[in-house]
Symmetry: C2
Subunit: 349 residues, 2 copies
């Protein structure tokens, strides 16, 4: 089962819970995909989490421990982490990839640090100015990819253009969409609606080769399942992502309160609610999809929510394994270089 | 009951359904508030809708019909409507206010036309550069005001600053919050997070007099009920508004499907669902709050959703009546002029 080419570096110290959650998640994905995971972080803590697993769940061929002594605190600035935390798990994990000992990284730690270390240690795909953080959102039908959701607070049209190229490639390989429908997030469906960034980006996306560009989509189209990839600047995308999380939670709270206080045959109500909540919960449960790929780097990098559980970590590691096996990186490089001239033109205007 | 000072011009032709929906809504608000409504539009259509109401629901003291021959089509551009549709219901309604025959307008028609006619016929409060469209959103606790939601696609810091001043005043008078907690929509709670527009606007809001400024809020904070007024540029606000509508609808669809297919004691399920949906539906039902005030004009102007039902129209007319009775306009003028120097400084940098 073990695949020697498929080695992934996992930031074992990341996330709100660290090794007790990350280690079982990583091992679970290793067992199901055949990937080998390098568990990066403080050795004793990782060892302790490994020891708490049944022996059959941690075959030695599936993992290695790579020590990293420093821990990143959530309130530290990415630039300081880069400079002062050379032996942090995220930096060590990135260097393992840079040195060819692993094919990608997975981290649920400080996401700003992951983006900064990804940019400066792994480096960018030639021609990519801004890597984008992409998130997979549930919809009424199949999942949808939204990017950028926070790596780039201010964007220019050629950035959104490249987000469209990268998002389309990722959706083909990882979500399995043959010809993903691509939209740009705006405030009206007609061409010409939106702010100046949207209007100029629209022009570029229309001219690109091999894109199934639908044009503008609105906020209300994100969850219908009628578009597969949506691009926007990282400010708008981050607001949209957090708003979706928040509204999902608030609606669930209201519904729970109401079901509890309705007093109608409580037991049946509970059964029914449990059933309804299964699917409902799935729709607002971002753990389902594991992590957010940071697209545009020289290797796969998956950033997970700090509150990730083992299932989310496992999904993220499995996503990285698929990415490596499908050769997605090579296809991203090709998509960027095939549109190099258009990008260069856009950058110059 | 009738209040001679309280006359409101209602665009009877507006909305997806026109007079059959707008006329009963306007009359219902007139009866409950004592306002007199000027029903502006094609006389025979308005008369027909009036005749279909029971006589006791349309006392003659409560309304007048003001003829307007032209109809605005949804695909027309606001600039063209201004130039070529001088006798449209929205233009005639605005002129009634301009000439002192009414104190405000309510329209469920073409919202771009309402904004343009409001700007150019009613005019702006001295010192206000950009009127803002504000929307009242439901939360887990009390309603919240979000502005701008689409009148200004590109904004500068002094615009967001004035949105904060106007939103606070409106929330005091219309939502009844003594000291509304004001936030700016960003992608991190700490000062210094966000794009350059947010950072500069933050500085201004911090310096303003009489504002209860909390600082940055995130997308996930919009529905918790822990902030009363949130400012953002019209692009971000429009995306946020439509996303909320869309996600609410999609979650409701998923939940309905699940409850239907669960097969658990269908009848009890229906009862329970109906009860749960009452509150749940209220949370995503924007008709509840009627309309979006366009703040910063020389009179009250309420823009309603095209799909408004009579209840939404009635709520919007009642909101306009409260606005007039409370003297909100005067208080908006004062809030703007009290911060004139800071605004002028911000505009110059």
């Amino acid at each position: 089962m073990n695949n020697n080419d498929l080695v992934l570096a996992v930031d074992a110290m990341g996330g709100d819970f660290g090794p007790p959650v990350v280690v079982p998640g990583a091992l679970s994905a290793a067992r199901s995909t055949g990937a080998r995971v390098l568990l990066v972080g403080q050795e004793h803590a990782i060892r302790e989490s490994l020891d708490s697993l049944p022996a059959r769940d941690r075959p030695e061929a599936l993992y290695d421990i790579v020590p990293a002594s420093q821990v990143v605190e959530m309130e530290e600035k990415p630039s300081e982490i880069l400079r002062t935390k050379k032996d942090s798990s995220i930096q060590v994990a990135c260097r393992l990839v840079k040195q060819g000992q692993a094919r990608g990284i997975i981290s649920a730690g400080h996401s700003g640090a992951a983006v900064a270390c990804g940019m400066f240690i792994l480096g960018r795909i030639p021609g990519v100015e801004r890597p984008a953080l992409a998130t997979i959102l549930p919809t009424e039908k199949a999942p949808m990819l939204l990017l950028d959701v926070g790596a780039n607070v201010e964007c220019r049209p050629h950035h959104l253009f490249q987000f469209g190229l990268m998002g389309t490639t990722f959706a083909q390989d990882i979500l399995g969409y043959e010809n993903p429908r691509l939209g740009i997030l705006s405030i009206g469906e007609e061409e010409g609606k939106g702010n100046s960034l949207v209007k100029s980006s629209y022009e570029l996306l229309k001219m690109a080769q091999h894109l199934n560009f639908l044009g503008n989509v609105e906020g209300r189209d994100l969850f219908t399942g009628n578009v597969d990839v949506v691009v926007c600047d990282g400010f708008v995308g981050n607001v949209a992502l957090k708003l979706s999380e928040g509204l999902g939670t608030s609606l669930t709270n209201v519904l729970k309160r109401e079901l509890l206080s309705s007093g109608l045959l409580p037991k049946v109500g509970t059964l029914l609610a449990r059933s309804a909540f299964r699917k409902f919960g799935k729709m607002v449960d971002y753990a389902e999809y594991g992590g957010a790929p940071l697209l545009g780097l020289q290797a796969v990098a998956i950033v997970c929510h700090g509150a990730s559980n083992s299932k989310a970590i496992s999904s993220a590691v499995a996503m990285a394994a698929t990415y490596v096996e499908k050769g997605t990186h090579k296809r991203l490089v090709n998509a960027i270089s095939a549109n190099e001239e258009l990008t260069r033109y856009a950058r110059s205007v």
